[in-house]
């Protein structure tokens, strides 16, 4: 029993990331009808917002410390961080410690700008083009974005730790009456899950309760009709693109303490999140979220050693297997409408 709870919990945070990315993908697809292969890159850019802020906060100048020597035997140059110099080591240190959550503040405007620039500069011209063209141009964009990040940040993963306060882990087992250590769960993953839920709820609330959201939902259902009402749906869709970019970016920011970011991380998520979108049902927001969590949890179960012993390699292919089965048995996905994207 505890094993099952453990794997469900584990699936939740991976599922959160899938759900957030898939949510953005579906928003873009549903509103703009565009298949965005650069969405994984947006997730990656979000993560690098956190890296950048961390770099920025830890900017430092060198002070020679004659009492110590460096690896070549020369006097050691000690890095002194400006922020600690200005605000004192306590406050400065605390700000650096909290750089990942602080990055949210940076990521929102940055991702919004990137999203706007992408939509206005590129995607806009592809609304009427075949899906294959959309896939290809956004794929090219993803490569370009990745390479730019690699040029500035290198290829190795860059550690970006969570604030000190969240570094431990929580023992659910004790709470639920199991032995100690049977169900442990790091605090940050808990934070990530809650964060994802808040974002998802916010997006849904936004679509449900604002006029803007209602127009967009109507547009998703039937773009032409809304266009006839004289509503400038195009501008609203631009905003939706920016929102999708922000969601992906924030998912990336908060993910950095879980997996150290590198330039390639988006591609790893991209293929999977497309599978998630398809399993959830093209164009269905609740479907994308549900499928995200579902596949995250399934992936966790498939990685249990008992399961791997039973079916070798299942942990490598479970996502794809699920995708194939869903597509063959129920092509519209869990919650999708029929006939979307069939051509």
């Amino acid at each position: 029993m505890d094993v099952i709870i453990l794997q469900v919990l584990n699936g939740l945070d991976k599922g959160s990331a899938y759900a957030l990315i898939a949510l953005g993908l579906t928003l873009i697809f549903g509103t703009l009808g565009v298949v965005n292969f650069a969405h994984g890159a947006l997730f990656m850019l979000g993560a690098f917002c956190a890296v950048t802020l961390n770099r920025f906060l830890t900017l430092s100048h060198q002070v020679v410390d004659p009492s110590r020597t460096d690896f070549l035997g020369n006097p050691l140059k000690v890095e002194v961080r400006y922020i600690e110099e200005w605000l004192g080591p306590e406050i400065g240190g605390a700000i650096i410690d909290w750089s990942v959550p602080l990055s949210i503040l940076l990521a929102i405007p940055v991702m919004a700008l990137i999203g706007l620039a992408m939509e206005r500069g590129l995607i806009k011209h592809f609304y009427k083009r075949p899906h294959a063209d959309q896939i290809l141009v956004t794929f090219g964009l993803a490569i370009v974005l990745q390479q730019i990040v690699k040029y500035f940040y290198g290829a190795n993963p860059i550690a970006t730790p969570a604030p000190e306060a969240f570094t431990g882990s929580f023992d659910f087992g004790v709470l639920l009456g199991f032995e100690p250590f049977s169900i442990i769960y790091p605090y940050w993953r808990l934070v990530y899950f809650c964060f994802a839920i808040v974002i998802i709820a916010a997006v849904f609330a936004f679509l449900r309760f604002t006029t803007f959201g209602m127009v967009v939902r109507a547009g998703m259902a039937d773009r032409e009709t809304v266009g006839l009402l004289g509503i400038n749906i195009g501008r609203r869709f631009t905003v939706m693109f920016a929102i999708a970019a922000i969601v992906a970016g924030l998912a990336g920011v908060m993910y950095t303490p879980i997996v150290a970011p590198n330039y390639n991380m988006g591609m790893n998520f991209l293929v999977l999140s497309f599978v998630v979108v398809v399993v959830g049902g093209m164009g269905s927001l609740p479907g994308a979220v549900a499928a995200g969590f579902l596949l995250g949890i399934l992936e966790s179960f498939a990685s249990m050693s008992a399961v791997i012993d039973l079916v070798p390699g299942i942990n490598q292919v479970i996502i794809y297997l699920v995708a194939i089965i869903v597509l063959l048995v129920r092509p519209r996905g869990l919650m999708g409408r029929k006939g979307v994207m069939e051509d």
């Binding site: 293929v271 599978v275 063959l328 051509d343």
Partner: protein
């Protein structure tokens, strides 16, 4: 000739000439000139040009004609490669059985996968093929290591049985050959400052590529080809016209899978190692890029696309800072370092950036790929000369497929 129209015959002859003369055409710069680094006339790259040309040509039969975008075609290439290496391990290092096995195994595999995937269309089809290919890659890399040698790649060894040949010759693994002509051997001709290499392996691949190209022309011009175009255009109408589109599409899928298998077989014929990496989804993406870049649905487009991408991958990725400094050495100092800094983003490890930018540019500005670009230029010239002669615009360039 050969049952082709005059236009197609001309095209075939042009491709034939290009392929035969490739060792000269691809080595335009003398050996010790600065520009020699841009020469592409060495066996490995020439082989790659034609092998990936076959791969892209086959992919084009599916994607260019029927519009079905497979994102998992590299799986067939990989399966073909494994089959080929196993033939060379078990039977003989003569490449003929290996190539036949590659095509056959890839054909069966694509029939299986195609039968399942073609139950869906549009992006669902793409995702299905992607899922199958990724599964194949993941399993080949890990669980199937006993069959595929996983990470290290399946290769020949001194202990292979090779029942129709010998396990070892003089303590080394025998070279892959075509009835005694070793694939890695060839003929070198040094003339002036130039050195031209005529590699046997390349010419074997080239001959097979020409045959494949010929078959591809036949398919394009046949009623079958018309049916495939009709699938792309309007499946509904086909159905109500008394035609069952499924077997046509499946046939196209299997044919293109066999082309991929052939490419895989040739890859191991000239270089007997099959790595799982060639099944990774980026490899599938690459063949899509080749086809689109060259011009999907055109005959020569995929060949051109394959050539351009392989050229960038192999030549640009190998330029380094020192090369750039040499190249820009004529410029004033400040300008030189600025140029080198900018150029460095695009070469060496930045070659993918070049590819990405180039790719976006083509999709945005030239949806028909290089072939369309060529047509536009040709049309522009024709109009220009037409205006001079008769004062009237010449008719738009017909598809120079």
């Amino acid at each position: 000739m050969l049952g082709l129209s005059r236009k197609d015959t001309t095209l075939l002859l042009i491709v034939l000439a290009l392929v035969v003369l490739a060792p000269f055409l691809l080595n335009p710069f003398p050996e010790d000139s600065e520009l020699a680094r841009f020469n592409a006339g060495y066996p490995d790259l020439m082989q790659r040009f034609v092998i990936f040309g076959i791969f892209a040509m086959g992919f084009n039969i599916l994607f260019g004609l029927t519009g079905y975008l497979s994102f998992g075609h590299a799986a067939f290439l990989g399966v073909g490669s494994y089959a080929g290496v196993w033939m060379m391990k078990l039977l003989t290092v003569n490449v003929v059985p290996a190539i036949i096995a590659s095509v056959a195994v890839a054909g069966v595999f694509s029939l299986l996968i195609g039968y399942i995937c073609l139950r869906r269309s549009g992006i669902y089809f793409s995702i299905l093929t992607l899922a199958f290919a990724q599964m194949s890659f993941a399993l080949a890399y890990s669980v199937l290591t006993p069959i595929t040698a996983g990470e290290t790649g399946l290769q020949l060894s001194l202990n292979d049985p090779r029942i129709l040949g010998s396990s070892a010759v003089d303590g080394t693994i025998p070279a892959t050959n075509f009835f005694g002509i070793a694939m890695r051997d060839g003929f070198e001709w040094a003339v002036g400052g130039w050195k031209f290499t005529f590699n046997f392996g390349y010419y074997l691949c080239a001959v097979i590529m020409l045959i494949a190209f010929y078959i591809s022309i036949r398919i394009f011009r046949s009623p079958f080809g018309a049916m495939l175009r009709a699938v792309k255009s309007n499946q509904q109408r086909m159905n109500y016209t008394g035609i069952n589109p499924k077997p046509y599409t499946l046939a196209a899928f299997v044919i293109s899978g066999m082309y991929a298998g052939l490419a895989g077989g040739l890859m191991v014929a000239v270089d007997p190692l099959a790595g799982a990496d060639r099944m990774f989804w980026t490899a599938s993406g690459e063949v899509v890029l080749m086809t689109i870049l060259g011009g999907a649905g055109t005959l020569v487009g995929p060949l051109l696309g394959a050539g351009v991408i392989k050229y960038f991958e192999n030549i640009f990725s190998r330029l380094n800072e020192a090369d750039l400094n040499q190249m820009f050495s004529g410029l004033p100092d400040g300008l030189q370092s600025a140029m080198v800094t900018v150029a460095q983003m695009f070469v060496g490890d930045g070659w993918l950036l070049t590819l990405g930018v180039m790719f976006m540019a083509v999709v945005i500005f030239l949806p028909g790929g290089i072939v369309e670009g060529g047509q536009r230029v040709a049309g522009w010239f024709r109009r220009k000369s037409g205006t001079e002669k008769s004062g009237k615009a010449a008719p738009a360039a017909s598809a120079a497929e």
